[in-house]
């Protein structure tokens, strides 16, 4: 596909790596926010090409990983109810709740369906007026506009048997939470390009100024990541902390204003718990008052529910960049993509899954010496 091969060009990658080496004079730790970027970094060994002491810390930008256990348990509860068609993206089906997952519900006779788009769930609702169709609406600023549009369409077309179980999260409050964490080692951020495609870049300059960290909007191909790192270390070496856009082909300053308008119509900000991290103030979206009739939590009365986290899984520490995946005792033994204990091993964007896919045959010593 056009511009995919070009942004993976090894000759240009080498030039960028050389330039990074020529720029760096001391150790730096920077966080790539998005799980998609983590996969590019681990898959192509980009972290291993960096100068000694320059560390990539993997961020919490995997929507499946940070969806709180409480919401998973609510999904399981709703999907078990008779007459319900529960629709979800495929990643969510194997995420463990307190003891079971959506696949288990499906195997026990629940009508759980994987869809490609939330509009598919709305179509299922139209075709099955005698069933309650629920869509599992999770994700960051990239997934929220599609889900917002789907609820808007349900209301506009008067499709009453559709509802959304919603647990959307926003990146900027997460950056604040990471910078205010007592163990924070992050000195700069590669911001998630696709989130910025929607939201633009206006939320970031106040964060860069407040925490004195460079924030570079970065894409997802190897050259995008390397260019983001180059701009970041250049700023760090100069003592600067501004927002730069290294993904101009997809990110404009203002973002997608049509999507932003729909978001502010359908959703309102709310405090949200992130799995493994905890409550982050104003970090989430929920349906606004005028769309409350489409909120599955109200429709199915699952607002109060007890949860139980795995005692072994350390995905919360992975999500906060405190440990690397292989430093968890369960990694690759008790916990594998086939039998995941935590969401970071389940999701295609999870850091544990990335390490399992691309690094598990290496000894931990080798990985940690460059990580």
């Amino acid at each position: 596909m056009k511009y995919l091969a070009e942004f993976s060009d090894p000759v240009l990658a080498k030039k960028l790596v050389d330039q990074i080496h020529a720029t760096v004079t001391k150790p730096w730790a920077m966080m790539e926010v998005c799980g998609g970027q983590t996969h590019t970094i681990v898959r192509h060994g980009i972290d291993q090409l960096l100068p000694d002491g320059v560390e990539m810390i993997h961020g919490p930008g995997c929507p499946v990983c940070v969806t709180p256990l409480e919401i998973i348990d609510k999904a399981l509860e709703i999907a078990s109810q008779p007459g319900v068609v529960f629709c979800s993206f495929g990643d969510m089906l194997r995420v463990p709740g307190s003891g079971r997952d959506l696949f288990r519900i499906k195997s026990e006779g629940g009508d759980v369906r994987v869809v490609y788009s939330p509009l598919d769930a709305l179509r299922i609702a139209k075709e099955n007026p005698d069933r309650e169709v629920v869509f599992f609406g999770i994700g960051f600023e990239t997934t929220a506009p599609p889900n917002a549009m789907t609820v808007y369409q349900a209301r506009k077309q008067d499709i009453a048997n559709f509802s959304l179980l919603v647990s959307h999260v926003r990146v900027p409050p997460a950056i604040s939470a990471i910078m205010e964490s007592p163990n924070c080692r992050v000195q700069a951020f590669l911001a998630a390009g696709h989130v910025c495609s929607v939201m633009g870049v206006s939320e970031y300059p106040p964060l860069a100024a407040k925490y004195q960290v460079p924030i570079v909007v970065t894409g997802f191909e190897p050259l995008d990541i390397l260019a983001g790192i180059l701009r970041t270390v250049t700023q760090l070496e100069r003592g600067e902390h501004v927002v730069e856009n290294a993904y101009r082909r997809a990110v404009t300053d203002e973002g997608n204003t049509a999507a932003q308008a729909m978001l502010s119509d359908v959703f309102e900000t709310t405090d949200r718990a992130w799995r493994g991290i905890g409550m982050i103030p104003r970090s989430g979206w929920r349906l606004s008052e005028r769309y409350r009739a489409y909120d599955a939590e109200y429709r199915f009365q699952v607002r109060d529910i007890d949860t139980e986290e795995s005692k072994v899984c350390r995905s919360g520490e992975v999500l906060q960049g405190h440990i690397k995946p292989h430093e968890c005792e369960a990694f690759g033994t008790l916990c594998t993509p086939r039998n995941p204990l935590g969401a970071t091993m389940v999701s295609s964007e999870g850091a544990c899954a990335a390490y399992y896919l691309y690094r598990r045959l290496q000894t931990p010593e080798v990985v940690s010496s460059v990580g």
């Binding site: 596909m1 056009k2 511009y3 070009e6 942004f7 060009d9 090894p10 000759v11 240009l12 990658a13 080498k14 030039k15 960028l16 790596v17 050389d18 330039q19 080496h21 020529a22 192509h44 060994g45 291993q48 090409l49 960096l50 100068p51 000694d52 993206f89 490609y116 788009s117 939330p118 509009l119 598919d120 994700g139 990239t142 997934t143 506009p145 599609p146 549009m149 369409q153 506009k156 077309q157 696709h194 495609s197 929607v198 050259l223 260019a227 290294a246 101009r248 082909r249 997809a250 990110v251 404009t252 973002g255 997608n256 049509a258 999507a259 729909m262 080798v366 010496s369 460059v370």
Partner: protein, 94 residues
């Protein structure tokens, strides 16, 4: 790619390198046939700007002017990490 209205919503057929998908275009009301777009969960969220892509690549190419001076850090880094170079890079390094 083709564009049409469905239930009052702008929809279009998008070619993902040979795989065709029906995509909602409501958030890009001025996207035209022949343009490139970022699609997420069945929605076009932003157009890809070819001119910016070309400028970025041109900028990276210019970095080569400094290459002789700084040597083969790619190979050095891979060596220090005890790693082979990533697949596909070996032949370009010699």
């Amino acid at each position: 790619m083709e564009i049409r209205e469905e239930d009052g919503t702008r929809m279009g057929m998008v070619d993902f390198g040979g795989v065709l998908k029906d995509v909602c275009l409501a958030y890009l009301p001025d996207l035209e046939v022949g343009e490139y777009t970022i699609v997420h969960v069945g929605f076009a969220l932003q157009r890809l700007d070819e001119e910016s892509a070309r400028q970025s690549l041109a900028l990276y190419r210019q970095l080569g002017a400094l290459e002789e001076e700084f040597g083969d850090h790619w190979g050095l880094a891979a060596q220090q990490a005890g790693e082979r170079r990533p697949p596909g890079t070996e032949e370009t390094m010699t």
